[in-house]
């Protein structure tokens, strides 16, 4: 079986600055994979390369065995890949409901249709409301997304990402800015909606990472220094030194 996502010898550099320096990674379908690493290691850049937000300097990304080079982000998205952003990236002037509904449109087959009226598609409305309920924003349903508080925007960000029902989901620090209890809730939610799907998550909160991930990769300075189960990674001295710091290694 081909991997859900296969990165081979991926490079990215800006001028002289090499950000991603040869990443090889295969993620099986249905796997929950976490990527951790110090700030500026290139995690978000990796996401950007996978989702074609930017083109790699060299190397390939394959989704379900299909090479993504040369595709536009929306084409990748249509292949069933969905991502969230580290810094909330929502439709500021649209209401929470509209935001979520937009996220559902393509996957529900509406495409560029100008012969359907959305008001007359109950399934759409119901699906959107269900997502809003899941991310606990029902009370803010009609509020413009730009007016939400920071954490509420983060929740909406996750809502947009999971709405389309993609089978490969990339989350970039989904719980940043959330309180502990919020975090627990969101982790549960993520676990629930990604059941049977492929998940890749970048996170600095180790509770989340160890809680959620089947396997973990550690990215340091643009290279993967370790990949393995949570236990393996935690025990890896290289990882402790480069990332977790001594304090964390013993914890949890």
């Amino acid at each position: 079986m081909t991997a859900a996502l296969q990165l081979s010898d991926l490079h990215k550099s800006y001028g002289k600055a090499q950000i991603i320096r040869g990443v090889d990674l295969a993620i099986k379908a249905g796997e929950r994979h976490a990527i951790i690493g110090p700030n500026g290691a290139g995690k978000s850049t990796l996401f950007n390369l996978i989702t074609r937000r930017m083109a790699p300097s060299a190397g390939h990304v394959a989704l379900h065995g299909k090479d993504l080079n040369g595709l536009a982000p929306y084409e990748v998205t249509r292949m069933g890949l969905s991502r969230s952003f580290q810094i909330s990236n929502v439709f500021h002037r649209l209401s929470v409901f509209e935001n979520v509904r937009c996220a559902l449109l393509w996957s529900m087959g509406y495409r560029y249709s100008f012969w359907n009226l959305m008001d007359r598609a109950p399934a759409l409305t119901e699906a959107a409301d269900a997502i809003i309920a899941q991310i606990n924003l029902t009370k803010r349903r009609e509020m413009a997304a730009g007016f939400l508080s920071y954490a509420e925007q983060r929740a909406l960000e996750i809502g947009l990402t999971i709405a389309g029902g993609a089978n490969v989901i990339l989350l970039d620090e989904p719980t940043a800015g959330m309180s502990n209890t919020e975090t627990d809730y969101i982790v549960e939610l993520i676990r629930k909606v990604t059941e049977g799907k492929t998940l890749i998550v970048v996170e600095h909160d180790m509770r989340v990472v160890f809680n959620l991930a089947d396997r973990i990769s550690v990215l340091v300075y643009g290279q993967i220094v370790a990949t393995g189960t949570p236990e393996e990674v935690r025990a890896n001295p290289k990882v402790q030194e480069a990332y977790l710091g001594t304090a964390m290694a013993g914890g949890h």
Partner: protein
């Protein structure tokens, strides 16, 4: 007394977000402001710095600052690190830092300089001349903190400084905050991560429903399960 906030109210349009906040900060003190998402902690900071029109009394070193313009307040020595990072796009890391300097202020004349910043966070030094909007999330976080420090404030309000930082970096920031306090700078820390906040702050306030519902030392808060249940957890 550095900062004294009495009966502070603030509105967004019709919604009454702050409903009488009282808090104060002494010289060299680190004070944490805790609370659930959306209770109005960020709004409190914004009201103090004047980004949101405040109603009530805010005194900084005995001087009333409620109603003053944000830039005048900042020039009095109050620094604010916003939660959204607000990195200025189109400018490089270095230029972003330079903008932290007050008008007329020269680099290296205050407690901090570009040098010290780059030493402290070498990520920033490596990317000094990169356009700042492409920095990684964590780097941006460091940059905002440093940018405000460049203005050499006597009191700094930091909104979620550790958000998006790797564990190592979190410890680094905590150390920096302690260092800041050592240099006699007071800090108002808005933090989500309880453990860190409890660890480094001298006193904590807990907010709920637009008011302060608890005030005390971290140790006291640890002992108050009821408060934590009701106001800090869902």
């Amino acid at each position: 007394m550095m900062l004294d906030v009495q009966d502070l109210h603030a509105y967004y349009g019709k919604s009454h977000v702050l409903q009488g906040v009282n808090l104060n900060i002494q010289e060299g003190e680190i004070v944490a402001l805790l609370g659930r998402n959306g209770v109005g902690r960020s709004t409190t900071c914004k009201a103090i710095i004047g980004e949101v029109p405040p109603q009530g009394s805010v005194t900084f070193r005995g001087q009333q600052i409620a109603g003053k313009k944000a830039y005048d307040i900042a020039r009095l020595g109050l620094g604010y690190v916003p939660e959204n990072r607000d990195i200025f796009p189109g400018l490089t890391t270095r230029q972003n830092l330079i903008l932290g300097l007050k008008p007329g202020q020269k680099d290296g004349h205050g407690r901090w300089s570009l040098e010290t910043m780059f030493d402290m966070f070498e990520n920033l030094g490596n990317r000094a001349d990169t356009e700042a909007s492409v920095l990684s999330g964590g780097e941006k976080q460091m940059l905002t903190i440093c940018r405000t420090l460049m203005g050499d404030p006597d009191l700094i309000m930091i909104d979620e400084p550790t958000e998006g930082l790797a564990p190592q970096m979190v410890q680094k920031v905590a150390a920096v905050l302690k260092e800041i306090a050592k240099r006699g700078i007071s800090t108002l820390l808005v933090e989500q991560k309880l453990d860190i906040a409890m660890d480094i702050s001298d006193r904590v306030y807990v907010m709920g429903h637009g008011r302060v519902v608890f005030e005390g030392t971290p140790a006291e808060l640890k002992g108050r399960n009821d408060i934590r249940k009701e106001w800090l957890e869902v």
